[in-house]
Subunit: 188 residues, 2 copies
């Protein structure tokens, strides 16, 4: 995974070391790389929350990468209010990391060649099966069965499709919070 | 747990039946009753997100109960913007429930005797160990060791302490969303 252990040890953020330790300690669990991302949605600025997958740290930084579909509701939400809070709960060690920060939305229309390169790297860093999802129906719609995805083919050497979008959350260190949960009392 | 299987079967909401099935199917996992609650916090209406514990459904309703500390940041946040979105991810079955709705904050100052009774019931429905947390230091502060909690004693027959607060989220059915995750593409 991009920006894994070696990169972590090269950086000095205490929270990053703790997070890396939690990732290592829970690596046997597939879901250890899943976390919940809260944003402020439509409907009068109400909160929105969903599970996403950690796609590594951006190289030489503490920025957290998430792949998503440019057609998903969260893109509009983030463009309207570019902040998010990750709640990352490790079920075996009962550790919770809350990481808030600015979110950069990088889709194919970005004018910045460096950002486009990051997006391309994230695309090729995903499995071919994962890339197929971006050729499927609009996210949020029910998927009747797997046949829809099975019937779609993709050239493994082809670059990112329009629907592929990279989110990059830049942690604001002062608001980081590491808790031992569950505890009704100690959750902010 | 209050409002468990029997109550669920008496109600007809399709999402409630699906949720109950997920709870039953994941009951062997301690963390199956944990979910992430997003609210809109201070700092210019930014999102906030934390893990909380499902404390059952309110009797004869689909309302979701959460115990919390009246001193936690989320109380002020919810008073300011009384909406939340739960993201409840079941790690074994890869099912995600997103449940948004209005949140009612019920602390000891509520003028409504029915609500106060609900709060009292939630208090006595918690373990004595769980109640002790509300006599501890302010939430969000580091806990150096368990001695602080060990030194606190509580009369098991005594009613709720000031810091004990019940949150009741009233699901807005149209915004409910059940996804199979993880899928970068299909997370709204």
């Amino acid at each position: 995974m991009a920006g894994g252990g070696a990169a972590a040890s090269a950086l000095s953020s205490p929270w990053r070391s703790l997070l890396q330790r939690a990732l290592d300690g829970n690596a046997h669990l597939k879901h250890s790389t899943f976390f919940q991302l809260a944003t402020v949605g439509g409907g009068g600025g109400r909160p929105a929350n969903r599970t996403v997958v950690f796609r590594g740290f951006q190289e030489q930084s503490d920025k957290i990468q998430i792949n998503t579909d440019a057609r998903s509701n969260k893109i509009g939400e983030i463009r309207n209010c570019p902040f998010g809070e990750i709640c990352w709960y490790f079920t075996d060690t009962w550790e919770q990391f809350r990481i808030s920060g600015f979110i950069d939305v990088i889709d194919g229309s970005s004018p910045d060649p460096v950002k486009l390169q990051l997006r391309e790297r994230a695309w090729f860093g995903s499995s071919v099966k994962s890339r197929l999802q971006y050729l499927g129906p609009c996210p949020g719609l029910p998927i009747p069965n797997d046949d829809l995805v099975k019937d779609v083919h993709i050239d493994p050497s082809a670059g990112p499709v329009d629907a592929f979008c990279l989110l990059v959350l830049d942690p604001e260190k002062p608001s980081l919070c590491m808790d031992k949960t569950p505890s009704d009392a100690y959750c902010r």
